[in-house]
Amino acid sequence: MAKEYKTIGEIAGPLIFVEKTEPVGYNELVNITLADGSVKRGQVLDTSKDIVVVQVFEGTGGLNKDSGVRFTGETIKLPVSSELLGRILSGSGEPLDGGPRIVPEDRWEITGAAINPYSRKPPEEFIQTGISTIDGMNTLVRGQKLPIFSGSGLPHNEIALQIARQAKVLGAEEEFAVVFAAMGITSEEAQHFMYDFERTGALERAVVFTNLADDPAVERLITPRLALTAAEYLAYECEMHVLVILTDMTNYCEALRQMGAAREEVPGRRGYPGYMYTDLASLYERAGVIKGRKGSVTQFSILSMPGDDITHPIPDLSGYITEGQIVISRELHMKGIYPPINVLPSLSRLMNSGIGSKRTREDHKAVSDQLYAGYAEGLDLRGLVAIVGKEALSERDRKFLEFADLFEDRFVRQGMEEDRDIETTLDLGWELLATLSEAQLTRIDNKYIEKYHPAHRNKSKASTE
């Protein structure tokens, strides 16, 4: 049993300062026993011969100078097991579902090691989410990390749930798992997630970590790491394809800032710590595919942009690490369109390697480019119409204006339970493009027009009949 110290010199926010200890390892796990016998856990943030700084995960409420501090001699590890599937755990990894303790097959360090870039396999397997705006225009591939940039009051949770329900790889019956980490979300939201997981039976192949809004902020710093460790275990040991959903990264960053302030660090932009980029990278970069291994880790993280500001440090730094972003639009939401994904600022950097003739369909890129261009032009015209009125538009422009409306109404809008396969999505794209004159389809090769354009398709059908 490790030695117990009763030498807390100072307590500040979530931090305790322990004096006169034997040498204590950096990042070591700490147990703190309160007067009433309850035990809190913490982690060493800074260690020296004179003083050890410990951050307490469950908060420092109830602690006093007489609380006993034990250093466990090891860093934080997650007991991992394939039996994690179907379990609901707290933000620090304790079972919340009343089930038994996890019998570990192994214990893995939660900080995770960086994948050797030389071992990585460039992601290229198309994941079908069943959502047209994602599959068609911002394609997700296995091993990618793609965040949803949202705002308060927007239905990002529904979208995340829909993706979790529908995501699959075409033509492959491979083991698939979802790891869900909630950071600082309300219990209402959490229940909504739970309800949906149970309703659809998704829980059986899911691991859920929940840190609620009233759980200690500092626990939020380990929740995503636990989740990613579980994901890596399932991916690389159990050979599953794991989709990790992290929500809400903004709460995570707030906790990071809170801890930084408590440690009296020199703040960087908007008070967030200077190491936030590296810290976020240590989470996001845990997505990937490794050469010669079967499993993969794909990340969908949700972050709500404070004040819908995409230049805020959280979305900004995230955008520099993740491979693109899905942007939720308040305007579309107000119009009653679900899922309100604005394709223009959205982007999937790995899209091109995941689409095309062998993966989705040969015309995918061209259709996507053309839809993008057409919608962008339509929106420009919408701005113009607000000034000069519809009458001033040429026939051609009017078509584009209508196209933008159609695009939002038919392509973007879909049901929460509607699972469109990629063929349906692309055909729908063609149907909309057919409302424009063929001469306007400048981004599409003629051979695809002849093969896929509804007008030509009908013609060729007619001729065969």
Binding site: V24, Y26, A114, N116, P122, Y236, G274, T278, G288, T311
Partner: protein, 579 residues
């Protein structure tokens, strides 16, 4: 020789040690696992160390060993074709030693110490040698001859030198004072390798890319910055530069970038073919990859590792081009370490010495007379990734103050499918003047004027476009409409270039001159025709104009241009006669 101290404090990658009397920037081995670190500060009894690996579990009281050596790289045959992390550990070796994840406490030397090299001496017994002299050669890869250099800080008389097959550890000879000669030597990365003297950057780095060579030339030994907004085709551009520029050696540093993107580079580069020799491009390339989740201190070191390797090949007399992608991530690593050290922050939390460090780094570029008497150069192309696309942030601003060339990659141009998507209005090159002499001698005395005429034309177009936005192009007088058309020809027939077209991918400098001259001459003729009464519509519809558009895809452009210009003369004559 080794001094043992002990750890006093650990805070993330920053470790404080007691009782070692290390010098600044010495490499130390920290803790029982011997994690690699570097001394970055000394305060009284305490030595402050940044550790290149994760420090979890390390305790106060564990030993710290001073190696007495600053952070160094191994320089010798076997550098080419390598893929390193930020501190010159070969990633394939790391994979072999510790699997797919990067664990800590593993050391791996930069060069393969078992590989045998065929060494041919070029000096003989009794030769008196200064530091940096060539003592012999090794055929390193298919077309790169590795010149074995005497370390710059060593000199003396050759006592013994042997021809034969050696590893980098074998002794290949001796100096009369007993100094052993080997195929490799160490060099501290933070020290620029010395040269005899630096030379003026008077030779352009020919890239075969018209927008660069033609309008915004980079000199050999010069410095350039590119912002890399997404979707602007940065990767293709970097590959074009690596493939086609007339630098013999390419060093690519992936500093703090995404793992998946790095994986792409590591997969694609080895497959690229060197168009000049037909051999793999990797045979003259060194890759350094330090992704954003690899230790931050190693990221900080990676650019120094890269530039030291570049300087080493320069010292052999090669022209080297170094690409650092991205220097913003490097600056962020500095910021992070600085904040761990609780230094007073400067602008946006960056350390106050940011500008100085950037300047020091870029200053290591240059064309120089090397110690062995040859001429070599290191050209540095640094990518910057300003957050939120805001160029006013400190890293971009401080970089722009140093570099002489700015290639403004522009996502908007890329969206309009104008490639390479370099914005001609915001880019600049300050080498124009210094390179003029070279152009006069090697291309044509007219070149300078052609270039400035072109720039004026494009500038004029931008002004006219502003008006067109307001009133429409029909409202412009004929001569201005014609200006717009000629400018469009420059943009579409000259500035645009197709990286995937066999011929268009590389455009020799002399062809660039001929093409630009043809376009502008055509323009002059058009203006004359307009003055003598032809209409803009007719001029624009001339066949010779369409023919000019296709010149860039032709191999034998002299013959084609000849036909085009003859055709143009006929057509313009017809236009004026019609009246």
């Amino acid at each position: 020789m080794e001094i043992k101290g002990e750890i006093y404090r650990i805070s993330g990658p920053v470790v404080t040690a007691l009782n070692i009397n290390a010098r600044m920037y010495d490499v130390v081995k920290v803790g029982n696992e011997g994690l690699m670190g570097e001394v970055i500060g000394i305060k009284g009894e305490k030595t402050i160390i940044q550790v290149y690996e994760d420090t979890s579990g390390v305790k106060p009281g564990e030993p710290v060993i001073d190696t007495g050596m600053p952070l160094s790289v191994e320089l010798g045959p076997g550098l080419l074709e390598s893929i390193y992390d930020g501190i010159q550990r070969p990633l394939p070796v790391l994979k072999e030693k510790m699997g797919d994840f990067i664990q800590r406490g593993v050391s791996a030397s930069g060069l393969d110490h078992n590989k045998q090299w065929e060494f041919k001496p070029v000096v003989k017994k009794g030769d008196k040698l200064e530091g940096g002299k060539i003592i012999g050669t090794v055929q390193e890869t298919g077309n790169i001859l590795h010149r074995i250099l005497l370390p710059p800080n060593v000199s003396g008389v050759v006592d013994e030198i042997n021809e034969g097959t050696f590893t980098v550890d074998d002794v290949i000879g001796r100096l009369s004072d007993g100094t052993e000669l080997k195929l490799m030597h160490y060099w501290p990365v933070r020290h620029p390798r010395p040269v005899k003297n630096k030379l003026r950057p008077t030779i352009p780095l020919i890239t075969g890319q018209r927008i660069f060579d033609g309008l915004f030339p980079l000199a050999k030994g010069g410095t350039a910055a590119i912002p890399g907004p997404f979707g602007s085709g940065k990767t293709v551009m970097q590959q074009q530069l690596a493939k086609w520029s007339d630098a013999e050696i390419v060093v690519y540093i992936g500093c703090g970038e995404r793992g998946n993107e790095m994986a792409d580079v590591l997969n694609e580069f080895p497959e690229l073919e060197d168009p000049k020799s037909g051999r793999p491009l990797m045979e003259r390339t060194v890759l350094i990859a330090n992704t954003s989740n690899m230790p931050v201190a190693a990221r900080e070191a990676s650019v120094y590792t890269g530039i030291t390797i570049a300087e080493y090949y320069r010292d052999m007399g090669y022209d080297v081009s170094l690409m650092a992608d991205s220097t913003s991530r490097w600056a962020e690593a500095m910021r992070e370490i600085s904040s761990r050290l609780e230094e007073m922050p400067g602008e946006e939390g960056y350390p106050a010495y940011l500008a100085a460090k950037l300047a020091e780094f870029y200053e290591r570029a240059g064309r120089a007379k090397t110690l062995c008497g040859d001429e070599g150069s290191v050209t540095v192309i640094g990518a910057v990734s300003p957050p939120g696309g805001d160029f006013s942030e400190p890293v971009t601003q401080n970089t722009l103050r140093i570099v002489k060339v700015f290639w403004a990659l522009d996502a908007k141009l890329a969206q309009r499918r104008h490639f390479p998507a370099i914005n001609w209005l915001t880019s600049y090159s300050l080498y124009g003047r210094t390179l003029d002499e070279w152009y006069n001698e090697n291309i044509s005395t007219e070149w300078t004027k052609l270039r400035s005429d072109t720039m004026n034309l494009l500038q004029r177009e931008a002004e006219l476009q502003d008006i067109v936005q307001l009133v429409g192009s029909d409202a412009l007088p004929d001569d201005q409409q014609l200006t717009l058309e000629i400018a469009r020809m420059v943009r579409e027939y000259f500035l645009q270039q197709n990286a995937y077209h066999d011929v268009d991918s590389y455009c020799p400098m002399i062809n660039q001159y001929k093409m630009l001259k043809a376009i502008l001459t055509w323009g002059e003729k058009a203006v004359l025709a307009l003055e003598s009464g032809a209409s803009v519509t007719n001029i624009v519809a001339l066949e010779s104009r369409d023919m000019l558009a296709k010149v860039r895809f032709e191999k034998d452009i002299d013959a084609v241009l000849d036909t085009v210009m003859k055709k143009a003369d006929e057509e313009f004559a017809a236009q004026t006669q019609q009246r």
